[in-house]
């Protein structure tokens, strides 16, 4: 079940998605986080961020909107209080890097370069902050620029996490590949909105939020497929994965691994269940290794 991405071995291709798994500790009462292929940690910014006002969540058909707004303790508190608790996990640890300005991203990368972190995931796709986040991810030039600067600063493999809120995912994927990205993860959430008709008001205090869950899976699959045809670097696919078969679909579309987010919010055991189901699927398909699925889509001529 193992896969290799940027020279790093994942014991299986299932990674807990950033923002849905905190820093891992919370899940220990349900399962050993070392059973996961990887853990993408909650986004980190240089200083503590309190995040957005509440409500921060709204349920929508087969999905949910969130507008957490990158609440996190900042890098100093993370290194002092959290990292020592999770450094023993044998899963690949991926730090999700966020900020308002390019300098913020670089500061977080430099602060974590010497830490027990295996990879960086550059978050240029958060739709819930006024500055930074998605504004770097929707513009090819800006995306390439920040990717290049992050790559120069980073002493660990750099994944760039892309937003689906763009006209052409292939162009952005190509732009960050050319700028030095080692891998791409996609898709982050789609900007959306929920309204309480009786009150005539938005449900989220932030008005808009990021849509995730099975509702976005067809869009995510299409974008992974398009990106796979546009770039050579490995892809990590995500968007509404709830089962092992869902995960297999992303691998077939071109991903080398997958991230699972919203499923963990609905069920804390989701990642483990998905690993088990994907293993069963692989056995059923008589695969020698799970990597055989990547990009194996058969398109009728």
């Amino acid at each position: 079940m193992s896969v290799k991405i940027c020279g790093i071995t994942f014991k299986n291709p299932v990674i807990a998605a950033s923002g849905t798994f905190a820093f891992g500790k919370e899940f220990e009462i349900f399962f050993d986080p070392s059973k996961l292929g990887g853990i993408a940690l909650k986004a980190l910014t240089p200083k503590e961020r309190r995040g957005n006002p509440t409500p921060r969540i709204a349920e929508t058909p087969s999905g949910m909107l969130n507008s957490v707004g990158l609440q996190n303790p900042g890098i100093a508190a993370f290194k002092k209080d959290i990292l020592p608790l999770i450094s023993a996990y044998s899963s690949v640890k991926i730090a999700n890097i966020a900020g308002m300005y390019v300098e913020d991203y670089i500061e977080v990368i430099e602060a974590l370069n010497e830490c027990a972190i295996d990879m960086f995931e550059l978050n240029i796709s958060c739709p819930n902050v006024k500055q930074g986040g998605v504004q770097y991810g929707t513009d090819m030039k800006a995306a390439a620029d920040i990717t290049h600067k992050a790559k120069v600063a980073a002493k660990k493999p750099l994944i760039v996490k892309l937003t689906p809120n763009v006209a052409n995912i292939s162009d952005i994927a190509k732009a960050v590949e050319d700028a030095g990205a080692d891998a791409i993860s996609l898709i982050n959430t789609l900007t959306g909105m929920a309204i309480d008709a009786k009150k005539r008001s938005p449900i989220l205090a932030n008005i808009t939020g990021g849509l995730s869950g099975p509702a976005i899976k067809p869009i995510a699959l299409r974008m992974v497929y398009e990106a796979y045809n546009a770039v050579k670097i490995p892809l990590i696919g995500m968007g509404g994965i709830m089962s092992g078969v869902d995960a297999a679909e992303f691998l077939i579309a071109g991903a080398s691994a997958v991230m699972v987010g919203t499923a963990s919010i609905a069920d804390p055991h989701a990642c483990i269940k998905i690993i088990d189901e994907l293993t069963t699927f692989a056995h059923g398909e008589k695969l020698n290794n799970i990597g055989q699925l990547t990009g194996s889509l058969k398109v009728r001529k």
Partner: protein
């Protein structure tokens, strides 16, 4: 905290839009329950509704191994429980910190509406001496009055429309606070806010159980936060794991 599948033992309507749900719970999980904790329950038979709903626990029965939830039907999710095919529940419990019992001898309970439900679990699990102020919207929303009258020394009932008890708010009947070791409250925000104002400058420990739209219920997603005063300003704390019970004085409404 564990997740388990269980069957609905009974579901009955106790008043206008208010229901009591009873389900079986394994002994080892029941043993860890503290009053004020909650259960996070997946809406049965629905792929379109992904998220669990948090319900405060109304009471437990350690001999019959059952958990009682008293809830108000507010939308499609809670309506689903009434459907005959919704017999199996996916439950995650017990969650949250619960009330700090601290060997308090004399406790005042202040409850508003469906917020009275978790205070019932306090009554049930503690041998302290209680007084209670219970506020309802009106007569047709009343529940649990008999249990409180039986178990408490004094109970004052209020209602918004005067159809039961005194017309007005629970906090209008807050007198002689000095006799209590602690106050436990749960109810609508305006009630908690009024209580906080009334207690301003008093040193009595007061705890409030808060409610917020919730995601995972276990501290993973950071959506269910509430504003808690800090030395300089405020900070957001997670209702699911750092609450739902907070020191009322520290809540920034």
């Amino acid at each position: 905290m564990k997740s388990f599948l269980t069957d609905v033992l009974s579901l009955k309507k106790i008043n206008n839009g208010i229901y009591e749900l009873l389900f079986f719970c394994p002994t080892e999980i029941l043993k860890t329950f503290r009053p004020g904790q909650f259960a996070h329950i997946k809406i049965p038979q629905s792929d379109a509704m992904l998220l669990r709903r948090p319900f405060s626990i109304h009471g437990i029965d350690q001999t019959k191994n059952t958990v009682s939830i008293v809830y108000q039907e507010v939308g499609e999710g809670t309506r689903r429980f009434m459907e005959k095919k919704s017999r199996t529940l996916d439950v995650l419990m017990p969650l949250g910190n619960g009330f700090t019992m601290n060997n308090y001898k004399k406790i005042l309970l202040v409850g508003g509406g469906i917020g009275i439900a978790p205070l019932h679990s306090v009554l049930q699990q503690s041998s302290a001496c209680f007084d209670a102020l219970l506020g309802y919207r009106g007569k047709e929303y009343v529940f649990d009055v008999d249990c409180f009258v039986e178990r408490c020394r004094n109970v004052i009932i209020t209602s918004d429309d005067g159809s039961i008890g005194q017309k007005g708010f629970t906090t209008d009947y807050l007198t002689d606070i000095g006799q209590y070791d602690a106050i436990f409250a749960c109810g609508p925000r305006p009630m908690l806010q009024a209580l906080q104002r009334k207690l301003d400058g008093r040193s009595i420990p007061a705890y409030a159980s808060l409610e917020e739209r919730m995601g995972c219920g276990m501290g993973g997603c950071a959506v269910c936060v509430c504003k808690i005063r800090s030395e300089t300003d405020y900070t957001y704390k997670k209702v699911c794991t750092e609450g739902p019970v907070f020191d009322l004085k520290e809540v920034d409404f």
